[in-house]
């Protein structure tokens, strides 16, 4: 019995080791190259430590232009996607529609469509319908088609945990629709709205496939990286990769820390509620089935 448990432990351990090795080793190699003086992007032979590639990257004006475009596109996508996502989430959770499942399928369909299709169709549509050539605007619209759906999913999962009696109480006290929305619903949704702003910006900032087809001759940062990587590769790209990786690690740590704190808070709240219930020794009132 003990030996079979041990075997299982060894298998699990080596699987985890291989799995994370597979995920991280390529990224580690890519990172090391950024600090190698060799002008070919390679790990070995090691020709000495250098910050030169970071310096070279910072001198690249096209990189800065592309970064500026990425920021413009990202902020615009957030401004379009979050309000749309919120509206769609409200529509699906608040109305008792017979066709709810069908609408849901329609709303998430942009996520399940290959990105290049969204780029192509947006590009063709704006050209045909409004004679607008591919550029930053079409890239913004094309990205927003599917990023709105991600925002909707995030906001929906929070709305479903909302206790509708709070809104009903506000209505009973004579609050208007706008007051209830801005004073009760929106504050409750705040965490989900913040995360959808972050998610929308990140999705936009790193999108390649959709943007490539929609953007015409303009460049966002991923388009710039893609163009560079198809030509002669300089280790300056590795320097850029290192910056991305460091930012990503920071982001992941913050995200997981917040998630853990939220879980702890929730567990605490449940414990308190249990204790309170016990102390009062009354039958719990069934929660209103609102959503």
């Amino acid at each position: 019995m003990i030996s079979s448990k041990k075997v299982l432990k060894i298998i699990t351990g080596s699987y985890l080791f291989l799995f994370f090795g597979y995920l991280f080793l390529p990224l580690i190699f890519m990172g090391i190259v950024a600090f190698n003086s060799s002008s070919l992007p390679q790990v070995s032979p090691w020709e000495g430590f250098t910050w030169h590639w970071f310096h070279e990257l910072s001198q690249d004006s096209r990189m800065w232009d592309a970064l500026t475009n990425s920021l413009i596109v990202g902020v615009s996508v957030v401004c379009i996607s979050v309000p749309i996502g919120l509206a769609a989430a409200l529509l699906l959770t608040r109305l008792q529609l017979k066709s709810r499942d069908l609408l849901y399928a329609l709303f998430v369909s942009p996520i399940l469509t290959p990105g290049i299709i969204l780029g192509i169709s947006t590009f063709l549509f704006w050209d045909r319908a409004f004679a607008v050539m591919g550029g930053l605007w079409t890239a913004i619209v094309a990205q927003s088609t599917f990023i709105s759906a991600y925002c909707m999913l995030l906001i929906m999962s929070r709305i479903q945990r909302f206790d509708r009696t709070q809104e009903e109480a506000a209505f009973d006290l004579g609050a208007s629709h706008q007051q209830v929305f801005f004073k009760v619903t929106l504050p409750f949704l705040k965490p989900a709205l913040f995360s959808s702003v972050a998610l929308a910006f990140m999705q936009s900032f790193e999108n390649y496939n959709t943007t490539l087809f929609a953007i015409g001759f303009e460049q966002t940062l991923p388009i710039y990286i893609g163009t560079k990587l198809r030509q002669f590769i300089s280790p300056a790209m590795n320097a850029l990769a290192v910056i991305f990786i460091v930012l990503t690690i920071l982001g992941a740590l913050i995200y997981e820390y917040r998630r853990m704190m939220e879980r702890r808070k929730e567990a605490e709240r449940k414990k308190q509620a249990k204790a309170l219930k016990k102390a009062m020794a009354v039958q719990p009132v069934p929660a209103m089935q609102g959503a």
Binding site: F19, I84, R94, D101, S109, L112, I116, L124, I225, E256
Partner: protein, 297 residues
Amino acid sequence: MRKVWNQAKHEFGPIGLAYVLIAVSVWMLVMVVAPQLIMLDFSLHPLLFPDEIGGPKDVWTLQNYEILFSNRLHMIIFLKTIWSSLLVTVFALVICYPISYYIAKVARGASVGWLMVGLIIPYWINELLRLFAWQIILADSGILNQAMLWIGIISEPLNFRAGNGAVILGMAYAYVLFMVFPLYNALESLDRNQVDAARDLGASWFRIHRRIVIPHAKPGIAIGCIMTFMLGAGTIAAPQLLGSPSSFWFTELIYTNFETANWNLGAAYATILALLCLVFMAIMLAVFRVSLKELSR
């Protein structure tokens, strides 16, 4: 209909209702449905000179679609896209199922957090950079060739980029994690007591997974497969960065048509790609007997 309208008015108020309706219909009609229809319209028209548009040659035709079936090379590329996306999907499912189960049901305490961070970091890193990492590994003077030369398996560096292998490797690496999170979400809601009860009753490890865990994870498996297949079939980054002139992919075919201004043929091939993913989705939902309703949970 009237009832829904009254309920909606009661629910949102006039201003709120206007906001919801305008936002959702702009999104669905102007950003999703109309562009798809325009793309379909492009695909059903022949490529014409500007002065021929509106003339007698400007008719609806399937000729762009027929090219795929008459051009043997294009067909081979199309089939290659299908089987390599399938390969990547199966690979992702096989290597991600254990990790998802482990994080969702076996690991406890702080290690769950660290494992999640370990998944999120590579998942969030830009797909181009994930492919770039393999460009470096597979280069002629790259680490893999150097290692193999050093061990002595080969005497000359191999050109890994020559065939389709590098693109498939890159696809697998770039999209494998899109399988993990749907699986994890599905498995997390599994009651651990069910597994314990089956084990106490003497069920084998294999049987527990086949009869309890996998049936529970079905919606997650379906979504994970749909996402991975779609990303694999629809990627242009992977062939652009890891392909070679001798390995041409379907997305590159579409891109070339847009570059050479044959938007009609490009639109037709794009429509075919969209249909392929739709068919795959329908098959997955049918095989795993998952309804749209279950996906919406």
